[in-house]
Point group: C2
Chain length 353, copies 2
DNA sequence: CTTATATTCGGGTACGTACACGAAATTATC
DNA sequence: GATAATTTCGTGTACGTACCCGAATATAAG
């Protein structure tokens, strides 16, 4: 039962009704000093009555402040091109935000080298950005970085994975636990009682990425809840080259009951390659992320399912969250879980990463 | 290798360089008369050199023209609340576009009554809208409507399903064929060689919605391509009440080899209800759309998968396509297929319709 | 060459908000 | 009660573009 006749009113109308100038109204709107309590309350009253909505277009045009955003995330690498998508999201946001006087500085680091992260954060902070988009890969270092951001009261948005115990402005990314849980459900349709499942964490980071573990946790929980009895073999491969992967996998596959391989990140492409070489494409393979390499194997039926969570959109939405907060002064959802998408040979063409 | 130093230039700078006033530049920009060929070419040259991008914010603020959009789609009904989502998308777009001086008129019809459609289109055209969003349920009537729109040169965007042989400004919706194809793929994982599959079209429209048939086509194509031999039973139920559905289904289920039910639209909720009553929740049930009713059965494991294609976003994007075309003068993708989402008990919480 | 008519252009204001600057009103100080 | 200090407020300009109106220039008609 909203009022339909909400004609768009502006500060001028408010000023007229309050018998003051628009400048005074403006001061009240922005909570700036120089207004007596009495007139302030009167104006606030009128603003509420009229349900005044500032004209964002005019506001943007008149506002001179130029904001600076900074992003820090891993660089796309040989090992995985996953991070190309988030960067694209950032670029898209940059494109749109330019008109609004916002510039974006990009800091990329090597996700296999914590030092590069520390170095880049230092460089970043020197620029004194007004808002930061962060992919917190290294827990310890990120915590320290967050500490500094808090001191300088710069809002930070996380993407891709959360930082346990830290509260930034917002988190935009997957619910990792549920993601693993879903995988288990999917796989439950594919296995027979006598089959075994091989779960693979393939990453160079010694302190295995916490988000891989969260996925495993979700997976195992589902499996237990359902009371399934199939064997569940977990394995961590600390090298990402094909050689090492082949070595480990072929050894495991001597266990002939293994029928499903579940790779907890984008390295599924490497596993697919190995399976093809071993001529074991009969096995079911499930993994993460929409990468070109993986799509090739998806088409060839080597990979059966890819689970994906719109990495580009994560970054884009993260940037927009900063914009909403810093420019529009709007409240921002502190957690924005991305949908859990299941990609197959049939629908990948229509997936926008 | 783009130029980084693209400082934002405006008409003022162009005017200065061309030794003319900004009014003249404006005339060239909008291709208005009153400029000699010589100066026109000079200005166009400079515009190109500077890679001038008009400031959309300022343009919007200064532009007085008020556009009127109109939408026409089925009303959300007792039978299915599917159309609530697209309407929400429209409302969201309306909310955002208000600031830009765009109003939205809504015309809803009864999807079981073609006459209401005709009536509403007539009312719509009297308002002489500048752009139209159309869900073309009735092929014949929609074609006639399109004819009138063409005569009045009003751009039309389709959502939800395309209109064969008609070319509007754009189509935003699912690739129905692929959608059926994917379902078949999904189901292929779930059936044993001796199982049968029951495909159900449940709709009151006599000339069965063409998009249901497109889905069936995709499904059958996959099944043939793969050389599967399972029995595929297709059935059209012309009444949507539980009673009728139960009657037909229980009769079919005497065929004890049926193990999978595939419902080609949102009436899957009704089927789920029937299966529960019949105590046949052991059967696998797959259907369409993210409706509350269906989610209930998804949670209860009666429905196993829902295929969904972001109906809200379809409408939202459709509206924005009109905006891009009519306000920003930007080219619009003529076909925008939505991703094909697979919803399960595990990921439905994170699905935004 | 003068006057009339078309053509080509520039000045100026408006869109709704932000903010600098200074004026007016109020309060404090002696 | 006069002056200073402080508080409170209004005027005016700017943001970049759209477009009205009238002025200047060019072309046509006599």
């Amino acid at each position: 039962m909203k009022k339909e006749s909400e004609e768009l009113v502006g500060v001028k109308e408010i000023a007229r009704r309050a018998n003051v100038s628009i400048a005074t109204v403006d001061r009240v709107l922005h909570d700036r000093p120089g207004v007596s309590l009495k007139t302030k309350e009167k104006i606030q009253q009128i603003i509420k009555e009229l349900n005044y909505q500032p004209n964002i277009v005019a506001r943007t045009l008149a506002s001179r402040k130029k904001l600076k955003f900074a992003i820090i995330m891993p660089a796309s690498s040989e090992e995985t091109s996953y991070w190309k998508a988030p960067l694209d999201g950032v670029l898209q946001a940059e494109q749109e935000l330019r008109q609004y006087g916002i510039s974006v500085e990009k800091y990329l680091f090597d996700q296999n080298n914590r030092k590069t992260f520390v170095k880049q954060t230092a460089a970043l902070l020197q620029q004194k950005p007004d808002g930061i988009l962060l992919a917190p890969m290294f827990v310890e270092e990120s915590n320290q970085f967050m500490q500094q951001c808090r001191e300088q009261s710069i809002p930070v948005v996380f993407i891709n994975s959360d930082l346990p115990g830290q509260s930034g402005l917002a988190y935009v990314g997957p619910d990792l636990y549920q993601s693993g849980y879903l995988s288990a459900h999917l796989i439950s349709y594919l296995v027979r009682p006598s089959d075994s499942i091989l779960m693979l964490h393939i990453t160079r980071e010694l302190e295995m990425d916490h988000h891989l573990l969260r996925k495993e946790e979700g997976f195992r929980t589902y499996w237990q809840e359902q009371g399934y009895t199939q064997e569940l073999i977990t394995m961590h491969i600390g090298q990402t080259d094909t050689e090492t992967i082949r070595h480990h996998i072929s050894r495991q596959l001597k266990n002939s009951s293994i029928r499903v391989l579940f790779v907890t990140n984008s390295r599924v492409a490497a596993v697919a390659k190995v399976l093809e070489e071993l001529d074991r494409t009969d096995l079911l393979l499930i993994g993460y992320d929409f990468l070109e390499d993986s799509i090739v194997y998806l088409k060839k039926n080597v990979i059966d399912f890819l689970i994906c969570q719109k990495p580009q959109e994560q970054a884009y939405l993260g940037m927009m969250a900063l914009y909403d907060k810093l420019v529009l002064n709007q409240p921002v959802k502190s957690v924005h879980f991305m949908p859990i998408d299941i990609i197959t040979r049939e629908n990948y063409l229509f997936y926008n990463n």
